[in-house]
Symmetry: C2
Subunit: 253 residues, 2 copies
DNA sequence: ATAAATATTTGGTATTACAAAACATACCAT
DNA sequence: ATGGTATGTTTTGTAATACCAAATATTTAT
Protein backbone atom coordinates (compact mmCIF):
# COMPACT_ATOMS: atom_id res chain seq x y z
CA UNK A 1 0.00 0.00 0.00
CA UNK A 2 1.67 3.19 -1.21
CA UNK A 3 1.83 6.16 1.10
CA UNK A 4 0.16 9.33 -0.10
CA UNK A 5 2.45 12.35 -0.54
CA UNK A 6 -0.09 14.95 0.50
CA UNK A 7 -2.74 13.07 2.39
CA UNK A 8 -5.93 14.86 3.28
CA UNK A 9 -5.79 14.60 7.03
CA UNK A 10 -9.48 15.19 7.61
CA UNK A 11 -10.34 12.30 5.31
CA UNK A 12 -7.87 10.03 7.00
CA UNK A 13 -9.43 10.84 10.32
CA UNK A 14 -12.87 9.94 9.06
CA UNK A 15 -11.54 6.66 7.74
CA UNK A 16 -9.94 6.02 11.10
CA UNK A 17 -13.29 6.57 12.75
CA UNK A 18 -14.89 4.16 10.29
CA UNK A 19 -12.23 1.61 11.22
CA UNK A 20 -13.19 1.93 14.85
CA UNK A 21 -16.87 1.50 14.04
CA UNK A 22 -16.04 -1.61 12.04
CA UNK A 23 -13.85 -3.19 14.69
CA UNK A 24 -16.09 -2.39 17.61
CA UNK A 25 -19.38 -2.98 15.82
CA UNK A 26 -20.54 0.42 16.97
CA UNK A 27 -19.25 2.91 19.52
CA UNK A 28 -20.06 6.14 21.32
CA UNK A 29 -18.53 9.52 20.60
CA UNK A 30 -16.51 9.44 23.80
CA UNK A 31 -15.18 5.96 23.12
CA UNK A 32 -14.12 6.84 19.61
CA UNK A 33 -12.48 10.06 20.78
CA UNK A 34 -10.47 8.09 23.28
CA UNK A 35 -9.45 5.38 20.82
CA UNK A 36 -8.26 7.67 18.06
CA UNK A 37 -7.03 10.49 20.28
CA UNK A 38 -9.15 13.33 18.96
CA UNK A 39 -11.51 15.67 20.73
CA UNK A 40 -15.14 14.73 21.13
CA UNK A 41 -16.16 17.77 19.13
CA UNK A 42 -14.07 16.70 16.18
CA UNK A 43 -15.43 13.18 16.28
CA UNK A 44 -18.92 14.57 16.34
CA UNK A 45 -18.41 16.65 13.22
CA UNK A 46 -16.93 13.72 11.35
CA UNK A 47 -19.71 11.39 12.40
CA UNK A 48 -22.33 13.94 11.39
CA UNK A 49 -20.74 14.32 7.98
CA UNK A 50 -20.54 10.57 7.48
CA UNK A 51 -24.09 10.13 8.68
CA UNK A 52 -25.38 12.74 6.26
CA UNK A 53 -24.04 10.52 3.52
CA UNK A 54 -25.35 7.25 4.88
CA UNK A 55 -21.97 5.83 5.86
CA UNK A 56 -22.89 5.98 9.50
CA UNK A 57 -26.10 5.78 11.51
CA UNK A 58 -26.69 6.39 15.13
CA UNK A 59 -29.39 5.24 17.41
CA UNK A 60 -29.33 6.90 20.76
CA UNK A 61 -25.72 7.37 21.74
CA UNK A 62 -24.27 4.52 19.70
CA UNK A 63 -22.90 5.14 16.23
CA UNK A 64 -22.62 2.30 13.73
CA UNK A 65 -21.73 1.70 10.12
CA UNK A 66 -24.51 2.69 7.75
CA UNK A 67 -25.88 0.47 5.03
CA UNK A 68 -24.64 2.83 2.35
CA UNK A 69 -21.44 0.80 2.28
CA UNK A 70 -23.31 -2.26 1.06
CA UNK A 71 -24.24 -0.37 -2.06
CA UNK A 72 -20.60 0.58 -2.52
CA UNK A 73 -19.50 -3.01 -2.04
CA UNK A 74 -21.77 -4.15 -4.83
CA UNK A 75 -20.25 -1.71 -7.23
CA UNK A 76 -16.72 -2.57 -6.17
CA UNK A 77 -17.43 -6.24 -6.72
CA UNK A 78 -19.02 -5.65 -10.09
CA UNK A 79 -15.65 -4.82 -11.60
CA UNK A 80 -14.51 -8.42 -11.05
CA UNK A 81 -15.87 -9.62 -14.34
CA UNK A 82 -15.31 -13.33 -13.78
CA UNK A 83 -17.35 -13.15 -10.58
CA UNK A 84 -20.51 -14.92 -11.76
CA UNK A 85 -18.48 -17.50 -13.61
CA UNK A 86 -16.37 -18.28 -10.56
CA UNK A 87 -19.16 -18.42 -8.00
CA UNK A 88 -20.85 -21.14 -9.99
CA UNK A 89 -17.70 -23.24 -10.00
CA UNK A 90 -16.98 -22.56 -6.35
CA UNK A 91 -20.48 -23.75 -5.52
CA UNK A 92 -19.96 -27.06 -7.27
CA UNK A 93 -16.53 -27.34 -5.68
CA UNK A 94 -18.09 -26.97 -2.25
CA UNK A 95 -20.77 -29.48 -3.07
CA UNK A 96 -18.34 -32.04 -4.48
CA UNK A 97 -15.90 -31.75 -1.63
CA UNK A 98 -18.37 -31.14 1.16
CA UNK A 99 -15.84 -28.63 2.48
CA UNK A 100 -15.57 -24.85 2.40
CA UNK A 101 -14.64 -23.45 -1.02
CA UNK A 102 -13.41 -19.88 -1.48
CA UNK A 103 -12.74 -17.36 -4.20
CA UNK A 104 -10.07 -14.83 -3.33
CA UNK A 105 -8.46 -11.97 -5.24
CA UNK A 106 -5.36 -9.93 -4.60
CA UNK A 107 -5.42 -6.19 -4.07
CA UNK A 108 -2.79 -4.00 -2.52
CA UNK A 109 -0.72 -7.03 -1.66
CA UNK A 110 -3.50 -8.59 0.36
CA UNK A 111 -5.89 -11.43 -0.31
CA UNK A 112 -9.56 -10.49 -0.20
CA UNK A 113 -12.18 -13.23 -0.01
CA UNK A 114 -14.93 -12.40 -2.49
CA UNK A 115 -17.08 -15.48 -2.31
CA UNK A 116 -17.46 -18.52 -0.14
CA UNK A 117 -19.59 -21.59 -0.50
CA UNK A 118 -20.10 -24.11 2.25
CA UNK A 119 -20.36 -27.84 1.56
CA UNK A 120 -22.28 -30.13 3.87
CA UNK A 121 -19.37 -30.65 6.24
CA UNK A 122 -17.76 -27.24 5.84
CA UNK A 123 -15.78 -25.88 8.77
CA UNK A 124 -17.07 -22.78 10.46
CA UNK A 125 -14.35 -20.18 10.14
CA UNK A 126 -14.01 -16.49 10.66
CA UNK A 127 -13.42 -16.06 6.93
CA UNK A 128 -16.20 -13.93 5.52
CA UNK A 129 -16.80 -12.19 2.21
CA UNK A 130 -14.53 -9.18 2.40
CA UNK A 131 -12.08 -10.86 4.75
CA UNK A 132 -8.53 -9.72 4.13
CA UNK A 133 -5.32 -11.46 4.97
CA UNK A 134 -1.65 -11.58 4.11
CA UNK A 135 -0.72 -13.73 1.15
CA UNK A 136 2.22 -15.59 2.64
CA UNK A 137 0.27 -17.87 4.94
CA UNK A 138 -2.67 -19.01 2.84
CA UNK A 139 -3.01 -21.46 -0.03
CA UNK A 140 -4.61 -18.93 -2.37
CA UNK A 141 -2.12 -16.28 -1.33
CA UNK A 142 0.91 -18.39 -2.05
CA UNK A 143 -0.70 -19.64 -5.24
CA UNK A 144 -1.13 -16.11 -6.52
CA UNK A 145 2.31 -15.02 -5.36
CA UNK A 146 3.89 -17.98 -7.13
CA UNK A 147 2.45 -17.14 -10.52
CA UNK A 148 2.33 -13.35 -10.56
CA UNK A 149 4.92 -11.22 -12.41
CA UNK A 150 8.26 -11.20 -10.59
CA UNK A 151 8.36 -7.44 -9.92
CA UNK A 152 4.93 -7.52 -8.32
CA UNK A 153 5.87 -10.53 -6.24
CA UNK A 154 9.09 -8.85 -5.11
CA UNK A 155 7.26 -5.68 -4.18
CA UNK A 156 4.72 -7.56 -2.09
CA UNK A 157 7.29 -9.78 -0.37
CA UNK A 158 9.36 -6.66 0.29
CA UNK A 159 6.54 -5.17 2.30
CA UNK A 160 5.64 -8.38 4.09
CA UNK A 161 6.30 -8.66 7.79
CA UNK A 162 6.38 -12.34 8.59
CA UNK A 163 4.60 -13.40 11.70
CA UNK A 164 4.38 -16.88 13.19
CA UNK A 165 0.61 -17.14 13.35
CA UNK A 166 0.91 -20.88 13.98
CA UNK A 167 4.00 -23.09 14.44
CA UNK A 168 3.73 -23.97 10.73
CA UNK A 169 3.64 -20.44 9.36
CA UNK A 170 6.45 -19.54 6.99
CA UNK A 171 8.43 -16.86 8.74
CA UNK A 172 11.19 -15.85 6.38
CA UNK A 173 11.57 -14.78 2.81
CA UNK A 174 13.94 -17.57 1.74
CA UNK A 175 11.57 -20.30 2.88
CA UNK A 176 8.67 -18.55 1.17
CA UNK A 177 10.51 -18.21 -2.14
CA UNK A 178 11.50 -21.86 -1.98
CA UNK A 179 7.90 -22.89 -1.47
CA UNK A 180 6.72 -20.62 -4.28
CA UNK A 181 9.13 -22.40 -6.60
CA UNK A 182 7.62 -25.75 -5.57
CA UNK A 183 4.13 -24.36 -6.18
CA UNK A 184 5.09 -23.25 -9.68
CA UNK A 185 6.26 -26.78 -10.41
CA UNK A 186 3.31 -28.54 -8.86
CA UNK A 187 0.68 -26.08 -10.00
CA UNK A 188 -1.04 -26.18 -6.65
CA UNK A 189 -0.49 -24.44 -3.32
CA UNK A 190 -1.16 -25.84 0.13
CA UNK A 191 -1.89 -24.46 3.53
CA UNK A 192 -0.59 -26.90 6.12
CA UNK A 193 -2.10 -25.37 9.25
CA UNK A 194 -0.21 -22.17 8.56
CA UNK A 195 -3.10 -19.82 9.32
CA UNK A 196 -5.17 -21.72 11.83
CA UNK A 197 -4.20 -24.73 13.87
CA UNK A 198 -5.95 -27.82 12.55
CA UNK A 199 -6.99 -26.23 9.28
CA UNK A 200 -5.51 -27.27 5.95
CA UNK A 201 -6.32 -26.34 2.39
CA UNK A 202 -5.31 -26.33 -1.24
CA UNK A 203 -5.61 -23.58 -3.81
CA UNK A 204 -4.70 -22.52 -7.31
CA UNK A 205 -4.77 -19.23 -9.18
CA UNK A 206 -6.95 -18.36 -12.15
CA UNK A 207 -4.92 -16.96 -15.05
CA UNK A 208 -5.39 -16.06 -18.67
CA UNK A 209 -3.01 -16.70 -21.56
CA UNK A 210 -0.96 -13.60 -20.72
CA UNK A 211 -0.43 -14.90 -17.20
CA UNK A 212 -2.61 -12.20 -15.67
CA UNK A 213 -3.91 -13.36 -12.31
CA UNK A 214 -7.65 -12.97 -11.85
CA UNK A 215 -7.80 -14.49 -8.39
CA UNK A 216 -7.61 -17.94 -6.86
CA UNK A 217 -9.86 -20.75 -5.76
CA UNK A 218 -9.33 -22.88 -2.68
CA UNK A 219 -10.85 -25.63 -0.60
CA UNK A 220 -10.19 -25.67 3.12
CA UNK A 221 -11.11 -28.16 5.80
CA UNK A 222 -10.02 -29.80 9.04
CA UNK A 223 -6.69 -31.62 8.97
CA UNK A 224 -8.19 -34.76 10.51
CA UNK A 225 -10.55 -35.16 7.56
CA UNK A 226 -8.12 -34.03 4.88
CA UNK A 227 -5.45 -36.71 4.84
CA UNK A 228 -2.53 -36.43 2.42
CA UNK A 229 -4.31 -38.47 -0.24
CA UNK A 230 -7.41 -36.34 -0.21
CA UNK A 231 -5.57 -33.04 0.19
CA UNK A 232 -2.92 -33.76 -2.42
CA UNK A 233 -4.85 -35.66 -5.06
CA UNK A 234 -8.61 -35.55 -4.85
CA UNK A 235 -8.99 -31.90 -3.90
CA UNK A 236 -6.35 -30.51 -6.29
CA UNK A 237 -8.05 -32.35 -9.15
CA UNK A 238 -11.36 -30.74 -8.31
CA UNK A 239 -9.76 -27.32 -7.99
CA UNK A 240 -7.94 -27.64 -11.30
CA UNK A 241 -11.11 -28.62 -13.04
CA UNK A 242 -12.90 -25.58 -11.63
CA UNK A 243 -10.00 -23.30 -12.51
CA UNK A 244 -9.84 -24.64 -16.04
CA UNK A 245 -13.51 -24.10 -16.67
CA UNK A 246 -13.16 -20.48 -15.60
CA UNK A 247 -9.96 -19.95 -17.56
CA UNK A 248 -11.49 -21.29 -20.75
CA UNK A 249 -14.28 -18.77 -20.41
CA UNK A 250 -12.05 -15.79 -19.66
CA UNK A 251 -11.16 -15.42 -23.32
CA UNK A 252 -14.77 -14.77 -24.16
CA UNK A 253 -15.03 -11.81 -21.80
CA UNK B 1 -31.27 12.24 6.23
CA UNK B 2 -30.34 14.92 8.72
CA UNK B 3 -28.04 17.68 7.62
CA UNK B 4 -24.82 18.06 9.58
CA UNK B 5 -24.38 21.37 11.39
CA UNK B 6 -20.63 21.57 10.95
CA UNK B 7 -19.82 19.21 8.14
CA UNK B 8 -16.20 18.42 7.43
CA UNK B 9 -15.91 19.68 3.90
CA UNK B 10 -12.84 17.67 3.03
CA UNK B 11 -14.61 14.46 3.98
CA UNK B 12 -17.67 15.39 1.98
CA UNK B 13 -15.50 15.96 -1.03
CA UNK B 14 -13.94 12.54 -0.71
CA UNK B 15 -17.37 10.99 -0.44
CA UNK B 16 -18.42 12.90 -3.52
CA UNK B 17 -15.46 11.45 -5.36
CA UNK B 18 -16.41 7.98 -4.17
CA UNK B 19 -19.91 8.60 -5.53
CA UNK B 20 -18.47 9.39 -8.92
CA UNK B 21 -16.34 6.25 -8.87
CA UNK B 22 -19.41 4.23 -7.99
CA UNK B 23 -21.63 5.72 -10.66
CA UNK B 24 -19.08 5.65 -13.43
CA UNK B 25 -17.50 2.34 -12.49
CA UNK B 26 -14.12 4.02 -12.52
CA UNK B 27 -12.88 7.35 -13.80
CA UNK B 28 -9.78 9.40 -14.47
CA UNK B 29 -8.55 12.32 -12.39
CA UNK B 30 -9.51 14.83 -15.06
CA UNK B 31 -13.00 13.39 -15.46
CA UNK B 32 -13.64 13.44 -11.73
CA UNK B 33 -12.33 16.99 -11.43
CA UNK B 34 -14.72 18.06 -14.13
CA UNK B 35 -17.71 16.25 -12.66
CA UNK B 36 -17.34 17.52 -9.12
CA UNK B 37 -15.90 20.90 -10.00
CA UNK B 38 -12.61 20.71 -8.12
CA UNK B 39 -9.06 21.12 -9.30
CA UNK B 40 -7.10 18.13 -10.54
CA UNK B 41 -4.59 18.59 -7.76
CA UNK B 42 -7.25 18.37 -5.10
CA UNK B 43 -8.77 15.25 -6.62
CA UNK B 44 -5.36 13.71 -6.72
CA UNK B 45 -4.73 14.25 -3.02
CA UNK B 46 -8.12 12.83 -2.10
CA UNK B 47 -7.66 9.78 -4.31
CA UNK B 48 -4.20 9.17 -2.88
CA UNK B 49 -5.57 9.33 0.65
CA UNK B 50 -8.41 6.98 -0.18
CA UNK B 51 -6.08 4.63 -1.99
CA UNK B 52 -3.71 4.48 0.96
CA UNK B 53 -6.63 3.09 2.92
CA UNK B 54 -7.81 0.62 0.31
CA UNK B 55 -11.00 2.47 -0.58
CA UNK B 56 -9.70 3.19 -4.04
CA UNK B 57 -7.31 1.50 -6.43
CA UNK B 58 -5.91 2.71 -9.67
CA UNK B 59 -4.47 0.92 -12.58
CA UNK B 60 -2.86 3.13 -15.10
CA UNK B 61 -4.89 6.30 -15.30
CA UNK B 62 -8.21 4.86 -14.18
CA UNK B 63 -9.26 5.02 -10.55
CA UNK B 64 -11.83 2.59 -9.18
CA UNK B 65 -13.43 1.59 -5.91
CA UNK B 66 -11.17 -0.60 -3.80
CA UNK B 67 -12.23 -3.90 -2.30
CA UNK B 68 -11.84 -2.51 1.20
CA UNK B 69 -15.50 -1.51 1.03
CA UNK B 70 -16.54 -5.16 0.79
CA UNK B 71 -15.07 -5.75 4.19
CA UNK B 72 -16.98 -2.75 5.50
CA UNK B 73 -20.19 -4.03 3.97
CA UNK B 74 -19.86 -7.32 5.78
CA UNK B 75 -19.56 -5.58 9.12
CA UNK B 76 -22.44 -3.25 8.38
CA UNK B 77 -24.61 -6.22 7.47
CA UNK B 78 -23.60 -8.17 10.54
CA UNK B 79 -25.57 -5.82 12.75
CA UNK B 80 -28.80 -7.06 11.15
CA UNK B 81 -29.20 -9.95 13.52
CA UNK B 82 -32.10 -11.65 11.78
CA UNK B 83 -30.09 -11.81 8.58
CA UNK B 84 -29.34 -15.54 8.52
CA UNK B 85 -32.83 -16.37 9.63
CA UNK B 86 -34.38 -14.27 6.90
CA UNK B 87 -32.17 -15.39 4.04
CA UNK B 88 -33.21 -18.98 4.63
CA UNK B 89 -36.88 -18.06 4.40
CA UNK B 90 -36.35 -15.82 1.41
CA UNK B 91 -34.65 -18.70 -0.36
CA UNK B 92 -37.60 -21.01 0.19
CA UNK B 93 -39.93 -18.20 -0.80
CA UNK B 94 -38.10 -17.83 -4.10
CA UNK B 95 -38.14 -21.56 -4.67
CA UNK B 96 -41.83 -21.93 -3.87
CA UNK B 97 -42.90 -19.01 -6.00
CA UNK B 98 -40.35 -19.37 -8.76
CA UNK B 99 -40.12 -15.58 -8.68
CA UNK B 100 -37.65 -13.09 -7.23
CA UNK B 101 -37.82 -12.80 -3.44
CA UNK B 102 -36.22 -9.89 -1.56
CA UNK B 103 -35.31 -8.87 1.95
CA UNK B 104 -35.24 -5.13 2.48
CA UNK B 105 -34.62 -2.93 5.51
CA UNK B 106 -35.24 0.75 6.13
CA UNK B 107 -32.48 3.19 6.96
CA UNK B 108 -32.53 6.94 6.75
CA UNK B 109 -35.99 6.84 5.23
CA UNK B 110 -34.85 4.65 2.35
CA UNK B 111 -35.29 0.99 1.59
CA UNK B 112 -32.06 -0.98 1.22
CA UNK B 113 -32.16 -4.43 -0.36
CA UNK B 114 -30.03 -6.74 1.77
CA UNK B 115 -30.69 -10.08 0.17
CA UNK B 116 -32.24 -11.45 -2.96
CA UNK B 117 -33.00 -14.95 -4.06
CA UNK B 118 -34.02 -15.86 -7.57
CA UNK B 119 -36.58 -18.59 -8.28
CA UNK B 120 -36.53 -20.50 -11.53
CA UNK B 121 -38.55 -17.93 -13.43
CA UNK B 122 -37.33 -14.85 -11.61
CA UNK B 123 -37.28 -11.57 -13.49
CA UNK B 124 -33.95 -9.98 -14.16
CA UNK B 125 -34.05 -6.59 -12.52
CA UNK B 126 -31.60 -3.90 -11.63
CA UNK B 127 -32.26 -4.55 -7.96
CA UNK B 128 -29.02 -5.71 -6.36
CA UNK B 129 -27.90 -6.24 -2.79
CA UNK B 130 -27.30 -2.74 -1.53
CA UNK B 131 -29.83 -1.20 -3.89
CA UNK B 132 -31.59 1.76 -2.34
CA UNK B 133 -34.92 3.27 -3.20
CA UNK B 134 -37.68 5.44 -1.85
CA UNK B 135 -40.29 3.71 0.28
CA UNK B 136 -43.41 5.19 -1.28
CA UNK B 137 -43.35 3.23 -4.53
CA UNK B 138 -42.42 -0.29 -3.46
CA UNK B 139 -44.33 -3.06 -1.73
CA UNK B 140 -41.78 -3.48 1.04
CA UNK B 141 -41.47 0.28 1.43
CA UNK B 142 -45.17 0.84 1.84
CA UNK B 143 -45.41 -2.21 4.08
CA UNK B 144 -42.82 -0.80 6.44
CA UNK B 145 -44.26 2.71 6.30
CA UNK B 146 -47.69 1.36 7.16
CA UNK B 147 -46.60 -0.35 10.34
CA UNK B 148 -43.85 1.88 11.69
CA UNK B 149 -44.42 4.34 14.58
CA UNK B 150 -46.46 7.34 13.46
CA UNK B 151 -43.78 9.97 14.19
CA UNK B 152 -41.22 8.11 12.13
CA UNK B 153 -43.69 7.67 9.30
CA UNK B 154 -44.57 11.35 9.39
CA UNK B 155 -40.93 12.36 9.34
CA UNK B 156 -40.20 10.17 6.33
CA UNK B 157 -43.28 11.23 4.38
CA UNK B 158 -42.44 14.84 5.22
CA UNK B 159 -39.12 14.50 3.42
CA UNK B 160 -40.50 12.54 0.49
CA UNK B 161 -40.60 14.15 -2.90
CA UNK B 162 -43.14 12.23 -4.94
CA UNK B 163 -42.20 11.46 -8.46
CA UNK B 164 -44.28 9.70 -11.09
CA UNK B 165 -41.83 6.95 -11.95
CA UNK B 166 -44.59 5.09 -13.79
CA UNK B 167 -48.21 6.07 -14.49
CA UNK B 168 -49.20 4.01 -11.44
CA UNK B 169 -46.83 5.62 -8.94
CA UNK B 170 -48.50 7.29 -5.97
CA UNK B 171 -47.72 10.95 -6.31
CA UNK B 172 -49.28 12.65 -3.33
CA UNK B 173 -49.32 12.28 0.40
CA UNK B 174 -53.08 11.85 0.80
CA UNK B 175 -53.19 8.92 -1.60
CA UNK B 176 -50.21 7.34 0.10
CA UNK B 177 -51.71 7.65 3.57
CA UNK B 178 -54.94 6.17 2.32
CA UNK B 179 -53.11 3.18 0.89
CA UNK B 180 -51.10 2.74 4.08
CA UNK B 181 -54.36 2.49 5.98
CA UNK B 182 -55.54 -0.25 3.63
CA UNK B 183 -52.21 -2.05 4.08
CA UNK B 184 -52.61 -1.96 7.86
CA UNK B 185 -56.01 -3.57 7.49
CA UNK B 186 -54.98 -6.17 4.96
CA UNK B 187 -51.60 -6.90 6.44
CA UNK B 188 -49.99 -6.97 3.02
CA UNK B 189 -48.65 -4.31 0.66
CA UNK B 190 -48.68 -4.41 -3.13
CA UNK B 191 -46.71 -2.85 -5.88
CA UNK B 192 -48.94 -2.48 -8.92
CA UNK B 193 -46.36 -1.49 -11.52
CA UNK B 194 -45.51 1.56 -9.44
CA UNK B 195 -41.74 1.25 -9.78
CA UNK B 196 -41.28 -0.46 -13.10
CA UNK B 197 -43.77 -0.91 -15.88
CA UNK B 198 -44.93 -4.52 -16.04
CA UNK B 199 -43.57 -5.44 -12.63
CA UNK B 200 -45.83 -6.24 -9.69
CA UNK B 201 -45.12 -7.51 -6.22
CA UNK B 202 -46.35 -8.12 -2.71
CA UNK B 203 -44.57 -7.56 0.57
CA UNK B 204 -44.97 -7.52 4.33
CA UNK B 205 -42.88 -6.22 7.19
CA UNK B 206 -41.19 -8.28 9.88
CA UNK B 207 -42.04 -7.04 13.39
CA UNK B 208 -41.59 -8.12 16.95
CA UNK B 209 -44.13 -7.89 19.80
CA UNK B 210 -43.25 -4.25 20.44
CA UNK B 211 -44.01 -3.42 16.84
CA UNK B 212 -40.37 -2.72 16.02
CA UNK B 213 -39.79 -3.13 12.30
CA UNK B 214 -36.86 -5.37 11.38
CA UNK B 215 -37.32 -5.14 7.64
CA UNK B 216 -39.66 -6.58 5.04
CA UNK B 217 -39.93 -9.50 2.67
CA UNK B 218 -41.33 -9.33 -0.84
CA UNK B 219 -41.91 -11.33 -3.97
CA UNK B 220 -41.86 -9.56 -7.30
CA UNK B 221 -42.59 -10.76 -10.78
CA UNK B 222 -44.01 -9.86 -14.18
CA UNK B 223 -47.62 -8.67 -14.20
CA UNK B 224 -48.57 -11.09 -16.97
CA UNK B 225 -47.65 -14.05 -14.78
CA UNK B 226 -48.94 -12.62 -11.52
CA UNK B 227 -52.71 -12.42 -11.98
CA UNK B 228 -54.86 -11.07 -9.19
CA UNK B 229 -55.45 -14.52 -7.73
CA UNK B 230 -51.78 -15.38 -7.53
CA UNK B 231 -50.68 -11.91 -6.43
CA UNK B 232 -53.41 -11.42 -3.85
CA UNK B 233 -53.80 -14.92 -2.41
CA UNK B 234 -51.09 -17.39 -3.18
CA UNK B 235 -48.11 -15.08 -2.84
CA UNK B 236 -49.31 -13.24 0.30
CA UNK B 237 -49.84 -16.58 1.99
CA UNK B 238 -46.30 -17.61 1.24
CA UNK B 239 -44.96 -14.27 2.42
CA UNK B 240 -46.92 -14.38 5.64
CA UNK B 241 -45.66 -17.84 6.38
CA UNK B 242 -42.08 -16.72 5.86
CA UNK B 243 -42.61 -13.59 7.96
CA UNK B 244 -44.19 -15.58 10.76
CA UNK B 245 -41.34 -18.05 10.94
CA UNK B 246 -38.89 -15.20 11.27
CA UNK B 247 -41.02 -13.32 13.79
CA UNK B 248 -41.36 -16.37 16.01
CA UNK B 249 -37.61 -16.67 16.15
CA UNK B 250 -36.94 -13.00 16.85
CA UNK B 251 -37.82 -13.42 20.51
CA UNK B 252 -35.00 -15.90 20.91
CA UNK B 253 -32.37 -13.41 19.75
C1' DA C 1 -34.95 16.28 41.97
C1' DT C 2 -30.33 16.25 41.62
C1' DA C 3 -26.22 14.70 39.95
C1' DA C 4 -23.45 12.47 36.66
C1' DA C 5 -22.37 11.33 32.18
C1' DT C 6 -23.00 12.01 27.80
C1' DA C 7 -23.75 14.41 23.20
C1' DT C 8 -23.75 18.71 20.83
C1' DT C 9 -22.66 23.44 19.75
C1' DT C 10 -19.70 27.52 19.81
C1' DG C 11 -15.70 30.35 18.92
C1' DG C 12 -10.95 31.42 18.16
C1' DT C 13 -6.72 30.01 15.96
C1' DA C 14 -3.22 27.25 14.13
C1' DT C 15 -3.47 24.22 10.55
C1' DT C 16 -4.26 22.70 6.13
C1' DA C 17 -7.14 21.96 2.17
C1' DC C 18 -7.46 24.21 -1.93
C1' DA C 19 -6.70 26.18 -6.75
C1' DA C 20 -3.42 27.45 -9.96
C1' DA C 21 0.64 26.72 -12.07
C1' DA C 22 4.78 24.32 -12.85
C1' DC C 23 6.54 19.87 -13.68
C1' DA C 24 6.72 15.05 -15.13
C1' DT C 25 5.20 11.41 -17.74
C1' DA C 26 2.82 8.66 -21.22
C1' DC C 27 0.96 8.50 -25.62
C1' DC C 28 0.31 9.88 -30.44
C1' DA C 29 1.12 11.09 -35.06
C1' DT C 30 4.09 12.34 -38.22
C1' DA D 1 13.16 9.63 -33.60
C1' DT D 2 10.69 14.00 -32.48
C1' DG D 3 7.57 17.19 -31.23
C1' DG D 4 3.04 17.82 -29.59
C1' DT D 5 -0.83 16.78 -26.79
C1' DA D 6 -3.15 15.00 -22.99
C1' DT D 7 -2.70 13.18 -18.93
C1' DG D 8 -1.18 12.57 -13.82
C1' DT D 9 1.61 14.55 -10.12
C1' DT D 10 3.95 17.87 -7.25
C1' DT D 11 4.66 22.52 -5.46
C1' DT D 12 3.43 26.81 -3.29
C1' DG D 13 1.02 30.61 -1.15
C1' DT D 14 -3.13 31.77 0.99
C1' DA D 15 -7.81 31.85 2.16
C1' DA D 16 -10.61 28.71 4.32
C1' DT D 17 -11.51 25.49 7.82
C1' DA D 18 -10.62 21.54 10.81
C1' DC D 19 -9.42 21.28 15.24
C1' DC D 20 -9.45 21.72 20.36
C1' DA D 21 -11.20 23.52 24.50
C1' DA D 22 -14.84 25.24 26.83
C1' DA D 23 -19.77 26.02 27.22
C1' DT D 24 -24.30 24.29 26.67
C1' DA D 25 -27.84 20.94 26.09
C1' DT D 26 -29.51 16.50 26.70
C1' DT D 27 -30.04 12.07 28.55
C1' DT D 28 -29.55 8.70 32.16
C1' DA D 29 -28.99 7.23 36.81
C1' DT D 30 -29.55 7.83 41.66
Amino acid sequence: MVEAKNPVQAVQRSLEIIDVLQNTGGARVTDIAEQVGMSKGTIHCHLATLEENGYVVHDGTKYKLGLRVIDLAHHAKSRIDIYDLVTKEVDTLAEESGELALFTVEEGGEGICLYKSAGDNAVKTEVYVGYRNELYHTAVGKGMLAFMPAEQRDRIIEETTFEAITPNTITDEAALREELEAIREEGIAYNHEESIHGLVGAGAPIRDQDGTIYGAISVIGPARRMGSDRLENEVPDMIHRAVNIVEINITSL
